[in-house]
């Protein structure tokens, strides 16, 4: 009897096990995270989403003015943004203009033996309007060259003022930074320019001899090649941003808004800070009155 009971129970269990073992088993795991995704580009330090720039102007014919704004990429990839201005009133011309900058080039000075004894690197910051910009110049140089570097500034009239002279305070190693505020306040209206020069201080025309120290002639050809210039600008209380890091060619944009129905696009590099102006020009014959002009900035649609 006992054997029969066990047989029946065993049969039932075996059937159950047999069926269960046929099941398709999936091993399953899931992890979940939530993140807040922010806009890729800031306009004047704020989210560009649904934030048009409103410019209200009561104008007379022939007037023009520009307003300073800035874009900042927060992404790790290049991002293209589009600027869109409306209304497209007849008689109003809107242009977008970057504030900076074109590093024009470098001049090299040689002695009679064709040895490089000096150089002059300059860049031009044009179309400046803001009065509260602060500039930082970073220089890396060869030790023999560095103590002779001075930084000059000019308002474009041709005469240079020394705004910083390192002289022998710096041994030329590593990165050297000098920060200075906009010095020509009041004289740098829109269209003026400033210029920085990195130049051995006593570089009179025709003089072939320049000294690292009282006894050591600077005559190492290779020593002159190690230079590096970076300009940062700081507007108001915002942090210093690289405008065009070490670029030797960074042409600004000046784009006349071609059509209010289309985006004017600008591509920002990762982390790039791009100051720009929206300039409004009113025709001589425009009807006198008050105009509201909106500009929006949006990331361009993915291609």
């Amino acid at each position: 009897m006992q054997r029969k009971k066990m047989l029946i129970a065993g049969l039932a269990i075996a059937l159950l096990i047999g069926v269960a073992s046929a099941a398709l088993i999936s091993y399953f795991g899931q992890v979940k995270m939530t993140a807040t995704v922010k806009q890729a580009v800031l306009l004047d330090g704020k989210d560009i989403n649904n934030m048009p720039i409103l410019q209200t102007a009561t104008v007379s014919g022939g007037e023009s003015f520009c307003r300073y704004h800035w874009l900042q990429s927060q992404t790790s990839v290049p991002v293209t943004v589009g600027l869109y201005t409306w209304p497209d009133e007849a008689g109003i011309t809107v242009t977008y203009t970057t504030t900076i900058t074109e590093l024009v080039g470098a001049e090299h000075y040689y002695d009679d033996c064709q040895r490089l004894v000096g150089l002059n690197v300059w860049l031009t910051l044009s179309d400046l309007l803001a009065k509260d910009l602060q500039y930082t110049v970073n220089v890396i140089s060869n030790p023999k060259f560095a103590p002779n570097i001075n930084i000059f500034i000019t308002d474009g009239s041709g005469s240079y003022r020394v705004i910083h002279a390192w002289g022998k305070e710096w041994d030329g190693t590593g990165l050297k930074t000098v920060t200075f505020k906009q010095l020509l306040d009041g004289t740098m209206g829109y269209g003026a320019s400033i210029r920085y020069s990195l130049l051995p201080p006593d570089l009179p025309e025709g003089s072939p001899k320049y000294y690292y120290s009282e006894s050591e002639l600077i005559n190492d050809y290779g020593s002159w090649y190690a230079y590096f210039v970076e300009v940062r600008a700081q507007a108001g209380a915002s942090g210093g941003q690289v405008l065009r890091p070490t670029g030797f060619k960074a042409a600004g944009i000046t784009i006349e808004v071609p059509d209010s129905d289309t985006f004017t696009t600008v591509t920002l590099q990762p982390g790039e800070f791009l100051p720009f102006y929206i300039c409004y020009k009113f025709d001589l014959l425009i009807k006198t009155g008050t105009y509201d002009i909106y500009t929006t900035v949006k990331p361009a649609p993915a291609s």
């Binding site: 046929a22 099941a23 890729a40």
Partner: protein
């Protein structure tokens, strides 16, 4: 007392069919040790790339099909196609001195913000490293990233498929029926039972021998063409069990050997006409490839195999039959995989192929569904032929 036990046992037995569907259906067990190694940041910026790492333990330390799904969703907006991009790497290793492997995970966006990748895993410890990037113009908002990992073992697939054959087997006839739904009373000698005996050889030797003996007996009874072992042949399908077949193939004729309360059938490629276009059919190419291999002509075998392999279009084997039918045949996947193993030529889409078969395994019965549409939707029913060749290929 005795009666109580009998009633209890009967109750249990009768209960099984009632609960059978749920018992047979796919069961989920937790993936061991799944945890986040490197979190996504709580704040992200559109257009940037972020890393996410998770690790888990392969529960069985045996070959399994891993499915990784990343779903990105936002509370207020619908995530569009192409707004995110996902790249991944699987790093895996066993306990020392196990080898360390890395495998690139290719993610396919199957829906807006839904990415899927599949891989075969073997090692015990696994780390998935993801790089998730978005387009710069992504709508700001609160995004949820859900990573789902499932692992299905080849051994479980085989086990279920073998169980299907057990259920298809008729003790009285000593053969497996064609299909549980469409042809439960039809018994094909070739190919169904010729492949079923082969499929069961390593999983149920006794049943395999029973079917084999019955096939030999029926071949004699009906004077069918046979191979050296006396098994019925079709001049095609026996290539799978190690026989050579003649090429080119003749047109196939289907024969009904017996028909009453059940039907005995077989097919033989002994039509008078030669199939001039036989190389446009993947199955025929693969039978020929296997045959050439058994003859020791591996160069010829490889050439034929490659022709069939090249019919893979990323979804299925798109041969002349598939083009005409508008759907893919699942058994050709099994046949291709099996031939690749016999010839020792690894398919570069093997993972995808196995994943496709896995999706076509019926959750309830363990049988493999005969076909599928270009969008992956199953088409047809489970049957003995497809399930058998799948077991042969995966074993």
């Amino acid at each position: 007392m005795n009666r109580q036990f009998v009633l209890l046992a009967l109750g249990l037995i009768l209960t099984i069919p009632v609960f059978q569907p749920s018992i047979f259906s796919k069961q989920f067990k937790p993936l061991q040790g799944l945890h986040v190694v490197k979190s996504l940041p709580l704040n992200m910026v559109a257009g940037s790339t972020y890393e996410w790492e998770v690790s888990f333990v392969n529960p069985k330390s045996e070959s399994g099909l891993m499915n990784v799904t990343l779903e990105v969703a936002e509370k207020k907006t619908v995530v569009g196609f192409g707004e995110f991009h996902v790249e991944g790497i699987l790093e895996s290793y066993d306990n020392p001195p196990g080898e360390y492997h890395t495998l690139t995970l290719t993610f396919t966006e199957t829906g807006g913000g839904v990415f899927q990748s599949q891989a075969l895993i073997n090692e015990r410890f696994n780390i998935i490293k993801l790089e998730i990037s978005s387009v710069p113009n992504l709508m700001p908002g609160e995004y949820t990233f859900t990573l789902t990992i499932t692992v299905n073992y080849i051994s479980d697939m085989i086990k279920s498929a073998v169980e299907f054959l057990h259920n298809m087997y008729n003790e009285k006839i000593k053969l497996c029926a064609e299909s549980p739904e469409t042809a439960p009373n039809t018994y094909w000698l070739v190919s169904d039972n010729l492949w079923a005996y082969k499929a069961l050889e390593k999983h149920d030797q006794k049943l395999s021998n029973t079917i084999k003996s019955k096939l030999i007996e029926l071949a004699k009874t009906y004077k069918l063409p046979t191979d050296a072992k006396g098994l019925p042949i079709s001049y095609k399908h026996e290539a799978v069990i190690g026989d050579t077949v003649p090429t080119p193939f003749n047109v196939t004729v289907q024969y009904t050997l017996y028909s009453d309360n059940y039907a005995l059938k077989t097919e033989i490629a002994n039509g008078t006409a030669v199939m001039e276009d036989w190389q446009e059919y993947a199955d025929l190419l693969l039978y020929a490839a296997l045959s050439k291999h058994w003859e020791g002509k591996d160069d010829n075998a490889t050439a034929l195999f490659n022709k069939a392999k090249n019919m893979w279009d990323g979804v299925g084997i798109n041969d002349k039959a598939a083009k005409a039918d508008g759907h893919y045949a699942t058994y050709k996947l099994g046949l291709l995989l099996y031939t690749s193993k016999v010839l020792g030529i690894k398919l570069d889409f093997e993972t995808q192929l196995i994943a496709t078969i896995w999706k076509l395994q019926d959750e309830t019965t363990g049988g493999i569904i005969t076909g599928y549409k270009p969008d992956g939707t199953p088409f047809g029913n489970t049957n003995t032929e497809t399930t058998s060749i799948t077991i042969i290929a995966l074993t």
